[in-house]
């Protein structure tokens, strides 16, 4: 069981009233934010017929499944079944929820209750997520570092790279930059990150061949 925090998405990419897909280890997540701004990370599966909740829609403080409109409140408890408007849904109908916290513009998720708060990178905020078709270790190596949080040298603007393993040959790369960075500086970081992705993927192909 993962009791450490995993960087799963960026705060800017899940604005109020939206849902997005995410991953925690080998599990699919529905990450969503209510109209009032509350973030949640759930199993990406409606208990009724297994439909992905990340395809669902947010009305107010609840997430509804796109398939039959079953609606779930903040705790994951089902609060409405449209096919039976007069029925109070049984307590047993509940979507498993994961621990979630936001720091430095990053949405962190965990299975269980980590003992500490997620890492904060003072003065930095998340600005771009990319997926790389290479394992986390190869991405870390391309960044010239080790582990899952690397102070990256991608040009004149300092950056923090958070690497999220997504299986044996895929990773998420969440990039943080100084809050004060101008759009042009972020553009340059983006280009550098894509260059890094090309190299990591080319290296990966070379290894596989």
């Amino acid at each position: 069981m993962t009791t450490t925090w995993t960087a799963a998405a960026l705060s800017q990419d899940v604005p109020a009233g939206t849902a997005a897909p995410g991953r925690l280890g080998d599990r699919d997540l529905a990450i969503w934010r209510s109209a009032s701004g509350k973030i949640a990370a759930w199993a990406d599966r409606c208990p009724h017929r297994g439909m992905r909740l990340s395809h669902g829609f947010v009305r107010g403080e609840a997430l509804s499944c796109i398939y039959h409109g079953w609606r779930y409140g903040q705790t994951g408890q089902c609060i409405k079944i449209p096919a039976h408007p007069g029925l109070e849904p049984p307590d047993a109908i509940r979507v498993p929820a994961f621990a979630v916290a936001e720091a430095s513009g990053v949405i962190w998720v965990a299975d269980g209750a980590p003992a500490t708060a997620p890492p904060a990178f003072e003065g930095f905020t998340g600005f771009r997520s990319l997926q790389v078709d290479a394992p986390a270790s190869v991405v870390a190596e391309a960044l010239g570092g080790k582990g899952d949080a690397i102070r990256a040298a991608l040009g004149p603007t300092p950056a923090v790279a958070l690497i999220q393993p997504l299986g044996p040959d895929r990773s998420g790369l969440h990039l943080l930059a100084p809050l004060s960075a101008a759009p042009e500086a972020l553009d340059a970081l983006s280009v550098a990150a894509e260059d890094l992705r090309r190299r990591a993927e080319a290296g990966q192909k070379g290894r596989a061949a």
């Binding site: 009724h48 297994g50 992905r52 409109g69 449209p82």
Partner: protein, 276 residues
């Protein structure tokens, strides 16, 4: 399920050179015999049994105990027979059938066509497994529909009956908008390619003198492709037959009976038996 008949092509549109496909994970080729009729061969090139019914070519990998089911209503004069065309879906063939048996999704997946909020309630209906014919039937199903068919002028409360005569085939009888006393026949015939991949071959026998054939084809393709993005995103991909993994309600009585009937007969290709 080897001893069942499955649809593999439209009789009027057989390919000139044999087309490769999959049936229950085994390679088959569908084409024309020397005389022009349908021919289906297995991976070893042996001719498989074929029959033509409901506009489609059917085959089997086994030795079916009985003839393919019939749909007597479809023989009524005045109906127009519609070969809708096939669509491939990355889902269990059983999930495709189960979705076809469901009405509660209409307001959310077929919005403003087969359903619309706030008309979401599913009233009680009747479901039985008919022992004489060994078929699943749901009757007295009613639902408010903004545009029930291409021929519908506006919203009507539509009456439905569902029938499952074979593990991957379902027939829907629904109020015919131009002839309220008669049933339109809409089928979903599913070719199980693998346990998580299938081709649907919808076919219809409708009372509709106003719409063009293309209009009717497009209406049904529209409906099915609205379902496709749902079917490709259900977890697990296979249909769970044991209770526990998914939570049904009274609106799902047809699905509950279908799952029970599948399990009773051991129709488990595309099913998940033990809750993960």
């Amino acid at each position: 399920m080897r001893h069942q008949w499955y649809p593999v092509g439209i009789a009027a549109k057989l390919p000139d050179s044999p087309a490769e496909s999959l049936l229950l994970g085994e390679r088959v080729h569908i084409g024309r015999a020397k005389g022009g009729g349908p021919q289906v061969t297995d991976a070893k090139g042996r001719a498989l049994p074929v029959l033509t019914r409901f506009g489609h070519v059917w085959t089997t990998l086994g030795t079916p105990e009985r003839d393919l089911f019939t749909i007597p209503e479809a023989d009524q004069p005045g109906r127009r027979l519609v070969d809708v065309g096939t669509v491939r879906v990355r889902c269990s063939p059983l999930r495709a059938v189960e979705n076809f048996l469901d009405i509660a999704h209409f307001p959310f997946v077929h919005t403003d066509i087969l359903g619309a909020e706030p008309h979401t309630e599913v009233e009680r209906y009747e479901v039985e497994i008919r022992e004489d014919s060994d078929e699943v039937w749901a009757t007295k199903v009613r639902f408010f529909q903004p545009q029930a068919a291409k021929s519908a002028g506006g919203g009507i409360t539509t009456d439905y009956m569902y029938r499952v005569p074979a593990p991957t085939c379902s027939i829907l009888y629904k109020t015919s908008p131009p002839r309220p006393g008669e049933w339109d026949v809409i089928t979903l015939f599913v070719q199980p390619m693998t346990e998580e991949l299938c081709q649907v071959w919808p076919w219809m026998a409708l009372f509709d003198d106003a719409s063009t054939m293309t209009d009717m084809i497009h209406f049904q393709q529209m409906i099915f492709v609205q379902d496709r993005s749902i079917l490709e995103n259900q977890i697990p991909a296979k249909l769970p037959l044991d209770p526990g993994l998914e939570i049904p309600t009274r609106a799902d009585m047809t699905s509950i009976a279908y799952r029970r009937w599948l399990k009773r007969h051991g129709y488990t290709y595309g099913a998940q038996l033990v809750a993960a």
